[in-house]
Symmetry: D3
Subunit: 245 residues, 6 copies
Amino acid sequence: MNVLFVGAHPDDIELWAGGTAALYAAGGHTVYFCVATNGNVGSTELPPDQIASLRLDEARRAAGVIGAHLIWLNFDDEFLLDSRESRTAFINAFRQAKPEVVFCHYRQDYNPDHSISGMLVDECVQLCGVPNIKTEHPPFHHTPHVYFMDTPAGIGFEPEIYVDITSTFATKIELVRAHASQNSWMKHVFGYELEAFLEIPARFRGLQAGCRFAEAFRPSYRWGRTFQQHYLPNMLSVKAREQVS
Amino acid sequence: MNVLFVGAHPDDIELWAGGTAALYAAGGHTVYFCVATNGNVGSTELPPDQIASLRLDEARRAAGVIGAHLIWLNFDDEFLLDSRESRTAFINAFRQAKPEVVFCHYRQDYNPDHSISGMLVDECVQLCGVPNIKTEHPPFHHTPHVYFMDTPAGIGFEPEIYVDITSTFATKIELVRAHASQNSWMKHVFGYELEAFLEIPARFRGLQAGCRFAEAFRPSYRWGRTFQQHYLPNMLSVKAREQVS
Amino acid sequence: MNVLFVGAHPDDIELWAGGTAALYAAGGHTVYFCVATNGNVGSTELPPDQIASLRLDEARRAAGVIGAHLIWLNFDDEFLLDSRESRTAFINAFRQAKPEVVFCHYRQDYNPDHSISGMLVDECVQLCGVPNIKTEHPPFHHTPHVYFMDTPAGIGFEPEIYVDITSTFATKIELVRAHASQNSWMKHVFGYELEAFLEIPARFRGLQAGCRFAEAFRPSYRWGRTFQQHYLPNMLSVKAREQVS
Amino acid sequence: MNVLFVGAHPDDIELWAGGTAALYAAGGHTVYFCVATNGNVGSTELPPDQIASLRLDEARRAAGVIGAHLIWLNFDDEFLLDSRESRTAFINAFRQAKPEVVFCHYRQDYNPDHSISGMLVDECVQLCGVPNIKTEHPPFHHTPHVYFMDTPAGIGFEPEIYVDITSTFATKIELVRAHASQNSWMKHVFGYELEAFLEIPARFRGLQAGCRFAEAFRPSYRWGRTFQQHYLPNMLSVKAREQVS
Amino acid sequence: MNVLFVGAHPDDIELWAGGTAALYAAGGHTVYFCVATNGNVGSTELPPDQIASLRLDEARRAAGVIGAHLIWLNFDDEFLLDSRESRTAFINAFRQAKPEVVFCHYRQDYNPDHSISGMLVDECVQLCGVPNIKTEHPPFHHTPHVYFMDTPAGIGFEPEIYVDITSTFATKIELVRAHASQNSWMKHVFGYELEAFLEIPARFRGLQAGCRFAEAFRPSYRWGRTFQQHYLPNMLSVKAREQVS
Amino acid sequence: MNVLFVGAHPDDIELWAGGTAALYAAGGHTVYFCVATNGNVGSTELPPDQIASLRLDEARRAAGVIGAHLIWLNFDDEFLLDSRESRTAFINAFRQAKPEVVFCHYRQDYNPDHSISGMLVDECVQLCGVPNIKTEHPPFHHTPHVYFMDTPAGIGFEPEIYVDITSTFATKIELVRAHASQNSWMKHVFGYELEAFLEIPARFRGLQAGCRFAEAFRPSYRWGRTFQQHYLPNMLSVKAREQVS
C-alpha cells in the first residue's frame, strides 16, 4: 500500500505523524513525504536560500530514516496560496505517490501554510483521476482516504482515531532530530525543548487512547472517501478482540 | 466476540442495525438483542397487555432468525426514564451479555425512549465492572466500545462509519417482518410501507458508502472507549487495500 | 388552525412569543396557552399557595387579552421533571389543543423548567396519536411542527426564522402587563424594568430581521416534522415577492 | 420573480436543484442558470476545448428544457479561485439575473469549484447594489436570499428545508440527460448510473420530507438575508394548513 | 470571595481542579468542596457502608489540606438523578457556600453522576435567590459564575481558559493522595498510576497554556452569568501585560 | 500596552469596537487603527478616487478623536484577497503596532473583506517574529492575543466576553460620526439610521452583559494565544469581586 504524508514545512510530517509513518514503513508499505514549502524562513540566522537548502538536506535525511520517498514542492514558506499553480502541484504529487491513504494538516490548524495545504489536499485529492488535468505524472483511478493530523499542542483538535506509536516513538524522535536546524528554531517559535514538545502530546494522546504513546487523527468525511474501514497501521492486522484478550 | 444491541422498542434493533447484526452472527459472533420497553402501546387495536405479549413473541422470533439471545427489560413503552431502576437494569443487561461492542440509539434521536436508552447505554456502560453495584449478573472488567445507530430517515444523523449490508439485506427484511404486528403500525406511525422504509435509507447509506446497501453508525468517543481500531464486521477481516484492488 | 404555546411559567409565553401569538389570534386562528408550572415560587412576598393562585388569575387575564385558551398543568415551579406524570400531562395538553404548530422553550435555555418543558414537547409531541397512551383527551393523528422560542436576552440562541411583531408589539406589552405580580419579581430576577426587557430584544431581533420589532425562533428538525413550509403568521398569506416590489 | 441558480460545472444545477428549478419555471417565474466553469476537463476522451464546447451546447439544451436563461462564466474547470476577476464576474451575473432568490453550492461541499463558487455567492451577493463596482450590468438594490444546495450523496449536509419535486422529477431526469456527454463521465467519477444517482437521494430526501421525491436545502443566515419568509416554490402558494386537512 | 467546587464523587474536585482550589485558598479566599455522592461503590474490597464512611474521612482530610469547607450531600454513588430532592440539596449547598464562582463537571462528561451534577449546578444555580424555595440555608441575591472542569484525559473537552497551577501542583498531588483508598481503585478503573494520570494532563494543559502545569476550564454562558471579567485566581491580581514584559 | 484594531473598511473598527478602543485610550494605552481597504466603493455619488481620499480624511479624524494611530493599507474595497501582498502588508502592520492585543473581524462575518481580513489576522499574527519575512518594520517576539469583533446585527455571532462601554458610548457615536460620508451610505446599505444601528446592538449586548451599553467579542483560541488572562479594558483593573459588593 502507498501512503502519502503532506506537510506544510519540512519537519511537520515528522512532528505530527512521524510515529505513524514509521509504523507503515515497518509494515512494508511504501511511504511518501510531500513537503509543500521549502521552509525558507525557518531560521533566525541563515538567509532564505541557505536555510531552504539546508532544510532540503535535512528532509532527505529524515525521509531516509524510514526509507520514505521525498516530494519537495518548493513553495515559499508562509506564502502557500490557493492558486492554479498550487492545485496543479498537489495533484501531481498525489499522482506521483499513488496513495491509498493521505495524511495532511487539519483545515483549522494555526498557520496559513498548514490550513491551505490541508485544504488543497482535502479538496483536490479526488481530481487525481481527471485525464484532462495534465501534470507530469499520469492520472490514477481510485480516491484515497484522507486523515487530518493533530495540531500544535492539540488546540482545537478533537481526535477520532488514534495510532499506538509506542514501538516507534524512538524513531519519531530520530525523524525530528534529523531536522537539526530546527531545534533552536522550535525553541524560538514554540518556547519548548524538542523532547518536551514531542513527548507531552504523545503521552496525552496515549492516555486518551489507552497506550503509552499515541498520535491522533480525524478522518475527512467526503464523497468517495467515506469509511467502511480504516487503513491505519494498527488496523492492518486486526484480529477479533476476544482472540487477544 | 459478544456483541450487544440495545433498542428502545421491539423491532428498533432490526430496523436500524439488523443487517449488521446478521453479519456478526454470520461471522460466528455471539449476538444479544436487549429490548428496553415491552412495546405495550404499539397497536391501534390491541390493548397494552396483549400487544406486549405479542411483541415479545415476535421479538423472540426475530432474534431466532439469526440465533441472537434476547434480553427483555420490560419497561413501559414511551415511559422509559432515567432512574435507579433503569440504570440497574441496563447494567445487569450489559453484564449478562458481556459484550465487546454495544450498539444503541443516538442520544439526539426523535423519541424519548430512544434518547433515554441511548443515554443509559452511553453513560452506564463503564459501570459494568463496579463490584459494589450489585445486580443478578456479576461484573466484568473491560469497557465495551459503543456505536450509535442511525435515526429514522437519518434526520440529524451524520454517519462516521458504514457497514456494507448487501449480503444480509434479505435477512434484515426477514428480521423486520418477524415483527408482523408492526407492519400496519409502522404504516400508521411512519406513513410508509415497510419495504420502502427499509430500502430507501439502506440504498442512500449505500450510496454514501460506495456499496449497494449499508447501515450507518457513529462511535461514542468517551474515556476508556476511544478508538485505535473498530470492531465492526467489515473490519474483522481487514486485508490491506492493495491486495484487493 | 390551532396553535399551541407551551411555557414553563406563567408569563413565559407572553415574554418570548406574545407578539406572534397575538398575530395568530388576529388572523383568526385558535390559540392555546399551556403553562407547565403554577409559578408558586415567583414572589418575594407571598407564600406559594397565594402566589400560585394570583398567577393563575393573571394568566387567565393575559390569555383573555387575545382570546387564547388556557391550559394549566399546575406542576410545582422550578421542580418540573421528566416523569411518567409529566409526559402524560403534556400529551394530554397536546390532545386538548390539537395544534398544527407548537411553540416551546429552547432545550438549552437557562432554567430547568424551561429546558425540561422544551424537552417534553420536543420528544413527546409525536405520541399524541398513540391510542394505547390513555389520557383525558383522545388521540389525534397528525404531527405538529415545533418551534423553539428565544432565550432571555437571546443568550446561546441563533435564530433561524423571525416574525415581524411591529403590529402587535403593543399587545405584547399588554399581555406581559397582565402578569402584574411579576413586574417587581422580574426586576428582582432580571434586574430590568419590564419595558426595557421587552423592548431591547424585540428591537434587536427586528434589526436582524429588517423590521421594527420581531420575535425569533428555531424550528425543531425531527422525523415527521421536517419542513416543506412554515406555518408562522407571516407566512400564512405569502404573496410572491415580486408582486410586492 | 427572478430566480438564479449558480453551479460550479455544467449539470450541477440540474443534479442538485433541477426539480426545484422546474417548479419555479412551471410557476411562471424567470429562471437563470449561471455556470461558473466551462467543464473543460469533464471527459476521458475529448480534449479541453472540444469538451467545453460540447458542454456549452448541452447546458443550452438543458436550460431550454424549462426555458431558463443561461449565464456562462467560462472559468477553467477545477481551477475556480477567489480573485478580483471571479468576484467581478459573479457580481455581474447577479446583476444580469436580478434575482429575488439565489441557489448555490454548500460552502463545505466536496470539490474546490463547488466550495469556492458557494463562497463567492454567499460573500458577494450583497455587493450587487454598490455603484462603484462597475460591471457590464448595472447595480440593483435589494439583497437576494441565498439557499445552499445538497451535496453529492448528502455527505455532511443537514437539510433545513425541502422542496417536493414529485411533480417535476421526470423533468429533472430530462434536465440531467441533456448533459449527454456526462453520463459516462459520471459513471467514471461517481461509479453510479445516472438514474440511480438521481433517484436514491431524491427518494431519501422525500422520505425525510414526507413526499415521494424531494430536494433539500439550507438557507444562508446573513445580514440583510435573514428569513421572515421563504420563497421556495412550495411556499409561493401557501394555504393555511387547516384548509387542506 | 467564596468559591464553591462541586464534584460528583469524593476526589473529583481534587483531580480536575485541585490546583486551582489550592490557588484560591492560598490567595485568602474561602473555598467550599461540595461532594454530591458518598462514593459508596468505589471499592473492589469494602462493602458500600464502609467505603462511604472511609471516603468521608478522606474527603475531610483532603479539604483540610487547603482549609476548605466540606459539604457532603450523601447521594448514592452512580445513582445521582435529576429530582426534587437533588435540586433542593444543590440549592441548599449553594446557599451554604454563598459563592461568587462555582466549578462543576462538564455536562458532556463520561459518567452519569458527573453529567447530572454538572446539569444540576448549571440549571439551578440561579435559583439561590428565590425565597419561596425553602431550604435549611437562606437565599442570597447574586448569581455566581460557573466554570466547567476538564474531563478524564480531556476527551471531548475544548478548553477556553487555563489556570497555571505550577506553584500548587505539589499540593494537588497531596490533595489527591488524601483519598488513599482510591489509589488502587483508580488503577482498577482508569488503568493508570495516580501520578501519571495527574501529571500527563497537567503537563498537556500546561503546554497549551504556556506554563509547566495547568488546569483547563470552560465558562458556562447563561443569562445573568455572561462574562465581563473572570474570577479565576490568575486574574484576581492582573497587572497590565506591559508592566510584566 | 499597545492595542491594534484591524477593520476591513474605514468605520468598521468604530462600529464594532469603538467603545472598547475608547476605553483603552482613556486607560492610557496606545491604540492603533489599521484599515485594510481604502473604502473606494463606499459612495453612491463620488467616484472611487474621490471617495477613497475623503474616507482617509475621515479615518484620520476618527482616529484623532481618541488619539489612535492610523495604519492605512489601501487595498481596493471589496477586493481584499489572500495573497503574498496582503499577508506581507498585514505582517508589516502588526510589526508597526507591536500590539499585545489585536481585534479583527469574525472569520464568518458577512462580507468578503471582513472574512479575509479576519483570516489574515488570525493566521498571520504569529508570523511577526519571523526574521526572514522582511517588511518595512522589524520583527517583534511575542504573540498577541486575538479577539473577534461582533457582526452586523450580531447575526451568527455568539459572544464569549463583553466590554461595558456605557462610559464611552458617547465617544463611540462621535467616532462613527467622524465618517460623515458614510451616514447616507449606511442608510443605503443597512437601511438604518446611524443612531439606531449603533444603539440597538449596544443595548442588546448590554442586556446580555448586565450593563447599559456593551460590545461583544470572541477570543481566538490558537497555539501561543490561549488564555490564562484577558487583556480587555474592564479587566485591566480587576478587583476581587467581594471588594466591590
